[in-house]
């Protein structure tokens, strides 16, 4: 290691004062080994040093939460002795460097987080952001990332049931890949990393350790720099086949009660897994570096400690049971070696070449710095004003704009993406990708002796991921809130009840006070929505430094992403037979608007496409009203009154109607809508986004005998329901202004991406 790098500002991702703090704690300068360990553990990625103070404000308890943040993933009570375990994680930087392997190992990593908890992964989702659709690198990134995700998830046999794909030029130099996994376990069969006991054998299982991803953890915490190309030789290669074996072996060992505590080797591999397991269990460890299975000859101790080779786990097991544990891993053809011991003294003693090599104090390593970094409201926000719509003349041909909107890459169907994922494996997918939320049943029989079979076959769960970075940029608080609210709307629109959420917060550098301000606001927004909707935050992930230094001519600048909070939400439904889907069912069904339309076009896709300017303030959200609206909709669905429900998201009411008409898998439908817009501009009705409203359909039910029950429900929640039109075949008509052919729209919608 070249010490002369020190004065240059950063050393292995550590700031100068952090380096000095380490020297002070050790009473001398750190050597290479120590520096490697500290730089990994004190990295933003492992220590959450800039985000912790904010994350601590989020609601994490209550409702059905069994285990909140802090473990590998959060756990929610699913009734009947069942538990659901889920989390979302980013793999942005590795995916930008090598999109196939980066996204594949991202999926592999999040699945390990889930099965270390004792849960069998039952569904994956992902949230993807690429540069502008017309950017020359975008097709490459899109195709490779999707291939990588499919490669890993499909091989593991875990269905990928949903996600989102967004294109925006703010991601031209920093793509985002956020992966979500949910697993199912028995409530009394959850495994933690915080439970190892003195005298336990420390066991290394899984793939051998190679040079993959060395300094990956510190890399993830550094701005990309065009000159730092040499970091590119550290690509981690995913091996889903080995992970499938690791999954089966771990679950088998757990079932046989051979594991006391377990932690996967994710970022900073052996370093973070050993220090975190020891720290959370309030114990120490002996780690025998001679025992670590190596793939590359001659790796140094620090390289072994920092390697991010995939498909590995650290386990603590009772000494007498080690041979039994090894027999399980042998059956699956995996390494399983005795690599140390749990000790009382809170240190990690490393042995190398049969001698004590280093002893590090756990508290010192684990309790890294924590910052309350400076914040400053960004200057650009001064220009973000409510839209003065009367300054904009209504375009002559709204039909053209309507077509442009539904065939915009951010709105158009992502079918070519999700058909590359196996979404039917597991015989549990009741509503596949392509509709608001994915709905899964409990196909139960995951183990041969029916041990894991749920007692209740009629219950189901719903999953959804969402984020809206454009809104988070225009108004970070609203953006944070909206991500949560939209997830909940998608779940409610199917008839489900939102239960808990996980978040993935993707931002540029926290050292920039404006970014830190955005972060604080976004977290506040998530917090208030999560409290109101009673969806506690049970796990999550922060990804900072999504920015890249660029050179254009002799000007240099930093390309930063918009603040991008992504939420993954879980919802429940007691009787899966009551689920509805967002698409129209039958010609002749009646179309209603449930809720209120404010008609604020600020920040909308319409403003962008029609006038080339979306930089206005988006509409506020009334959370109290939102809760009533969603409860009302859920009651109507539960009573069986509705045939379809769709939320009004990007692209506005027109898009909600159009999608409802053309996404029916069996036929092409249309609509005729005639609605009194009460003096408002027609474009405000058609295209204003994220309204607190749903487009719903019903047969004759609502006007017939059941009408009075429906009316009671509406009154109870104080929500308005207005009939606006009728489901038709083949045509889309609104107030004699919009007049389009469904077939043509459908073709465009399904062929853009």
């Amino acid at each position: 290691m070249n010490k002369t790098e020190k004065p240059s500002g950063k050393l292995f991702g550590l700031a100068i004062d952090e380096y000095e703090k380490i020297s002070e704690l050790l009473g001398r300068e750190p050597d290479d080994f120590e520096l490697g360990i500290f730089s990994a553990m004190w990295s933003e990625h492992c220590s959450y040093k800039s985000s912790k103070v904010y994350l601590e404000t989020l609601p994490t308890k209550g409702g059905k939460v069994l285990i909140g943040p802090g473990e590998n993933a959060g756990v929610v009570d699913f009734g009947d002795g069942d538990a659901l375990v889920f989390k979302m994680e980013s793999h942005n930087h590795p995916s930008f460097i090598e999109p196939f392997q980066g996204s594949a190992t991202g999926v592999g990593g999040i699945m390990r987080d889930i099965f270390t908890m004792g849960a069998r992964p039952v569904a994956n989702l992902n949230s993807l952001r690429f540069g502008s659709f017309s950017h020359h690198r975008t097709p490459y990134y899109l195709s490779e990332v999707v291939k990588g995700i499919g490669f890993y998830g499909n091989c593991m046999g875990v269905p990928t049931v949903g996600g989102e794909v967004v294109f925006d030029e703010c991601y031209n130099d920093n793509i985002l890949v956020n992966a979500f996994t949910i697993g199912i376990a028995k409530k009394d069969g959850i495994f933690l990393s915080s439970e190892c006991e003195i005298g336990n054998t420390v066991v290394y299982v899984g793939s051998a350790t190679g040079m993959d991803g060395i300094h990956g953890a510190t890399m993830a915490s550094e701005e990309f720099d065009l000159k730092k190309n040499k970091k590119r030789s550290t690509v981690q290669v995913g091996d889903p086949f080995t992970e499938k074996l690791l999954l089966e072996a771990c679950l088998e060992a757990m079932k046989k009660k051979l594991i006391v505590s377990i932690q996967d080797m994710g970022a900073a591999g052996l370093t973070s897994s050993s220090f975190e397991m020891a720290d959370k269990s309030e114990k120490g460890m002996i780690i025998d570096l001679d025992a670590i299975p190596l793939r590359t000859f001659g790796m140094t101790p620090v390289e072994m400690m920092l390697s991010e080779s995939q498909e590995r786990m650290l386990i603590a097991c009772e000494r007498e049971k080690f041979e039994l544990l090894k027999a399980v891993f042998d059956k699956w053809g995996l390494n399983c070696v005795n690599a140390g011991e749990v000790i009382k003294e809170k240190v990690i003693k490393f042995y190398y070449k049969s001698k004590i090599y280093k002893t590090l104090d756990i508290d010192t390593v684990v309790n890294g710095p924590e910052y309350k970094r400076p914040v400053k409201k960004p200057d650009y926000l001064k220009e973000i004003m409510p839209v003065k719509i009367n300054n904009y003349k209504i375009p002559e041909n709204l039909n053209d704009i309507a077509v442009k909107i539904v065939t915009h890459p951010n709105i158009a169907s992502k079918r070519t993406v999700f058909t590359q994922y196996d979404y039917t494996i597991g015989t549990a997918t009741v509503v596949p990708p392509g509709f608001s939320a994915a709905v899964l049943r409990v196909s139960g029989n995951y183990e041969e002796e029916n041990k894991n079979k749920s007692k209740n076959d009629s219950k189901g769960f719903l999953l959804n991921v969402n984020g809206n970075s454009k809104y988070a940029y225009l108004d970070p608080f609203t953006g944070g809130m909206l991500a949560v609210v939209e997830c909940a709307r998608n779940i409610t629109a199917c008839g489900g009840s939102p239960a808990a959420l996980t978040d993935c917060l993707n931002f540029a550098s926290p050292e920039d006070p404006e970014i830190m301000w955005q972060f604080a606001e976004v977290v506040k927004g998530i917090k208030s929505a999560a409290i109101n909707l009673n969806t506690p935050v049970i796990s999550g992930n922060v990804s900072f430094y999504n920015e890249t230094a660029k050179k254009e001519g002799d000007k240099t600048y930093v390309s930063k992403i918009y603040p991008t909070p992504v939420i993954g939400m879980l919802g429940f439904i007691k009787d899966i037979g009551k689920i509805i889907t967002p698409y129209f069912k039958e010609e002749g069904d009646e179309i209603y608007l449930l809720g209120e339309v404010k008609g604020n076009l600020g920040g909308s896709l319409y403003m962008d496409l029609a006038y080339g300017n979306f930089r206005q303030k988006p509409a506020d959200l009334d959370l109290d009203y939102e809760v009533r609206l969603q409860n009302c909709l859920r009651s109507l669905i539960d009573k069986g009154f509705l045939k379809s429900a769709a939320d009004v998201s990007e692209g506005g009411i027109f898009t909600a109607l159009a999608e409802s008409a053309i996404t029916n898998p069996e036929k092409t439908l249309g609509f005729v809508v005639d609605y009194d817009i009460k003096g408002r501009r027609i474009d405000e009705f058609l295209f204003s986004e994220f309204e607190q409203a749903f487009i719903v359909t019903a047969g004759k039910e609502l006007s017939g005998s059941q009408g009075s029950i429906a009316a009671e429900i509406l009154t109870e929640y104080g929500i308005k329901l207005e009939k606006i039109g009728m489901v038709k075949k083949d045509i889309m008509k609104i107030n004699s202004i919009i007049n389009l052919k469904s077939g043509k729209i459908k073709k465009g919608y399904y062929s853009v991406i």
């Binding site: 889903p240 058909t419 590359q420 039917t424 494996i425 049943r441 041969e448």
Partner: protein, 238 residues
């Protein structure tokens, strides 16, 4: 429906991942007695089973060529003996690929012509109702089942295809909703739209679509169930 006396063996390779699904559907939906056979289990033969299923998945990660590595596993020798003895063997998706690589079925799977993994519903036309796998399928019916594979582009030489046609070994072809066998309804470039074939004696069949994922109404189709129904009917009537 009590089929508990019907014993099915489900062969599990490292990387198999539709094993649980087949197991669950056979036991719960069809009330049969299915159990797993781990590829390294020390057993002499498969005689105690009424039929054997090689489920889908990614045996050995689909590395090298799908099905190639599993086909070299000793348990496949037992499957060969079982099949030559007239035993009923069903290979689904990766199981089909393994049967091809083992030589129990003829031909080979190439990468889908889209070069992509394809997960979607397809429609199937049955060409031979006179097999243990199809005897309960309604004539003229078009079956809806999902596919989920990367290498399902069936290829064989002219001689093999002739042979298949002669012995009515082509069991399923991809078609459209109305039953027309068209290029557009071919999801992967498969020769003559072939989705499933059998051996000459019709006791070994492989197909790419997943009947176990389409045996329950709640999953959008019960059509795949007709394959399991057929097998059970055939065994009961034997």
């Amino acid at each position: 429906m009590n089929n508990k006396n019907i014993k099915a063996g489900i062969i599990v390779f490292p990387g198999s991942n539709c094993d649980f699904d087949v197991y669950r559907v056979l036991n719960e939906v069809f009330d049969a007695s299915a159990s797993f056979i781990w590829h390294k289990d020390k057993i002499k033969d498969l005689k105690k089973y009424d039929f054997v299923v090689i489920p889908g998945g990614f045996s050995y990660g689909d590395y090298l060529r799908s099905g190639a590595l599993a086909a070299r596993s000793p348990v496949m020798e037992l499957v060969k003996d079982y099949a030559l003895d007239g035993g009923i063997v069903l290979g689904i998706c990766n199981g089909f690929q393994i049967l091809l690589e083992t030589g129990l079925l003829e031909g080979v799977m190439l990468t889908n012509n889209s070069l992509k993994f394809e997960c979607k519903d397809v429609y199937l036309k049955t060409l031979n109702f006179d097999t243990p796998f199809t005897c309960a399928i309604k004539r003229d019916s078009v079956l809806k089942m999902p596919i989920a594979h990367h290498d399902g582009n069936y290829f064989a030489t002219g001689g093999i295809i002739n042979d298949l046609n002669k012995k009515v070994g082509v069991i399923f072809k991809y078609c459209d909703k109305e039953g027309n066998i068209t290029d557009k309804s071919n999801p992967n470039g498969s020769m003559h739209n072939i989705a499933g074939i059998s051996n000459k004696t019709n006791n070994v069949m492989g197909l790419m679509p997943h009947p176990e994922r389409s045996s329950e109404k709640i999953l959008g189709s019960e059509d795949g169930g007709y394959i399991f129904r057929s097998i059970i009917k055939y065994i009961k009537e034997k």
